[in-house]
Amino acid sequence: MGSSLFQGKDLTCIRGGRTVFLGLNFNLAKGQALVLEGPNGSGKSSLIRMLSGLVRPRFGKLVWQEQDATKDPEIFQKHIHYIGHRNAIKPVLTVLENLAYWSGKTKDDPGLEDALDHFRMLPLKHTPANLLSSGQSRRLTLSRLLASERSVWLLDEPSVGLDVASVSLLEEVIKTHRLKGGSVIFATHSPIQVENPDRLNLQDYSPLYNKELLEIENDEESWI
C-alpha cells in the first residue's frame, strides 16, 4: 500500500465517564478500505465521529499526511465526508434541493443529477423529501458522496434500510471511489462487499468486551 494518508496513534475515547476504547491504532492509505467491526457498543460510531473531528480524542494522536491534526481537525475535515446514522434531510425541501444545499452547488448543476442517477433517485428529484421511504432517504444521503468530491469517506452503517440492489449500487460507488485513489472507512453489520479490505475489530480495544483492558483502564483512572 502507498504512503500513509490518515493515521491514529494510541487513540482513547471517553464518553460520559465511560472508556469506549483505548490504545487504538490505525493507518489509512490512499485507495484503502478499512472495515470497522465489533458488537454493539464497542465504539464503531464513536471512532467514526472521532475521525470526522466531531469528537476529540482524550488521549492519542491523529495524523493527517504526516501532520499532527489532533488539536486542529480542520486540517483533515475538508477532505473527509462523514455520513452518520441521521440523514440530515429537510422534509419540506425536494430531493434536488436537499442535495444542492449540502453540496454547495446550484440546482441546475449537472453533477447533482449524475449523483442522484447513480443511486436511482433521478425520477424522484422533484419529490418533497417527506414522501421518501427510509431506504430512499438513505440513498439521497449517500448520493451526497458523489455530489461533492472528498478523498476520505467515513460511513457509519451506510446500508441501513437499503435493499439488496441498492447495497450493490453502494459497493459499486465505493469501488469507483477507490480506483480514483479515494479511501473509505465504514462500520457495518450487514455485509458490504469490497475488494481486499483491511479490518479493525473494535472489540479488542473496548474495556466492555476485553477484560485485560479493564485493568489498564483502572490503572489509568487511579493515575489521573
Binding site: L54, R56, Q77, G84, R86, A88, K90, V92, L93, G104
Partner: protein
C-alpha cells in the same frame, strides 16, 4: 459569503414552506398586545402611556417563543453535524442562521408594530421612534437568544431553559427600547423628539454591536460542544 447566503436562503425557504412557524410569532405578538386594552379598559391616555412597555414586552416574548426551533431541528436531523463538518466557518453559519431568524421573526414584528401602536393611541412621533428602536433592538433579541438556543441543545427540556437564560439578558434592550419611546413622548417641542430619544437609540445600537461580536463566537463554541 456564498455559503452565508446559501444558509440564509435555505432557512428562509424552510420557513416559507412551513408557514405556521412564520406566522406564529407575529400572531402571538398581535393577539397578546390586543388583550391589554380589554383588560385595562378603554382609556386612551393610560393606553398611550403604557404602550411602549407592552409592545416591547410582547415582542420580546414572541421572539422567545420562536427561539427553540432556531437550531433544534438541525440538531435532531443531523444537519448540524454536517454544518460543523462543512467548509463554511461555523461562526459565519451561526450569523446566517440568526439573520434568517430575524427576517422571519423580527422583521414581521416590526411590520406589525404600527398596527399595535395605532391601537394604543400612540402619536406619530412616538411611532417613528418605536420603529427605529425596534429596527435596532430586535436583531439583538435574535442574537442573544441564539446563544441560549445553542447552549440548551442536547439538554432535556431545553425549551424550558431558554427563557431562564435569555430573559435576564433581554432586560437592557427592554429598558432602552422603552426609554427611547418614553423620551419621544415626553418631549415638549416637536423638534426635540429625536434629540431626546438619541441616547437610548445609541445604547440600543451599542447592544447590537456587542451581541454581533459575541454571538458568533459563543454560538459556534456551544454548537461544537453540543455534538460531542
Amino acid at each position: 459569503m456564498k455559503a452565508f447566503l446559501n444558509i440564509v436562503s435555505r432557512d428562509l425557504r424552510l420557513a416559507l414552506r412551513q408557514k405556521s412557524d412564520l406566522t406564529m410569532a407575529v400572531l402571538f405578538f398581535i393577539l397578546t398586545a390586543m388583550l391589554f386594552p380589554f383588560g385595562l379598559g378603554p382609556e386612551p391616555n393610560l393606553l398611550a402611556r403604557i404602550a411602549p412597555g407592552i409592545i416591547w414586552v410582547t415582542a420580546l416574548l414572541a421572539v422567545l417563543l420562536s427561539l427553540e426551533r432556531l437550531f433544534l431541528a438541525d440538531y435532531e436531523d443531523g444537519s448540524l453535524e454536517q454544518l460543523i463538518l462543512s467548509s463554511t466557518s461555523l461562526e459565519i453559519a451561526v450569523l446566517a442562521k440568526v439573520l434568517a431568524h430575524w427576517l422571519t421573526t423580527g422583521l414581521p414584528l416590526i411590520l406589525a408594530a404600527p398596527l399595535i401602536a395605532l391601537l394604543f393611541n400612540m402619536d406619530s412621533d412616538a411611532m417613528t421612534i418605536l420603529l427605529i428602536a425596534m429596527v435596532l433592538g430586535t436583531p439583538s433579541l435574535s442574537l442573544i437568544g441564539a446563544i441560549a438556543a445553542t447552549l440548551t441543545l442536547g439538554a432535556r427540556r431545553g425549551g424550558v431553559l431558554i427563557p431562564l437564560l435569555v430573559l435576564p439578558l433581554y432586560i437592557p434592550t427592554l429598558i432602552f427600547g422603552v426609554g427611547a419611546i418614553d423620551a419621544a413622548m415626553n418631549s415638549l417641542e416637536a423638534g426635540a423628539v429625536i434629540a431626546n430619544a438619541r441616547p437610548h437609540l445609541l445604547l440600543l445600537g451599542a447592544i447590537l454591536l456587542v451581541s454581533l461580536l459575541i454571538t458568533p463566537l459563543a454560538g459556534a463554541a456551544a454548537l461544537r460542544q453540543s455534538v460531542e
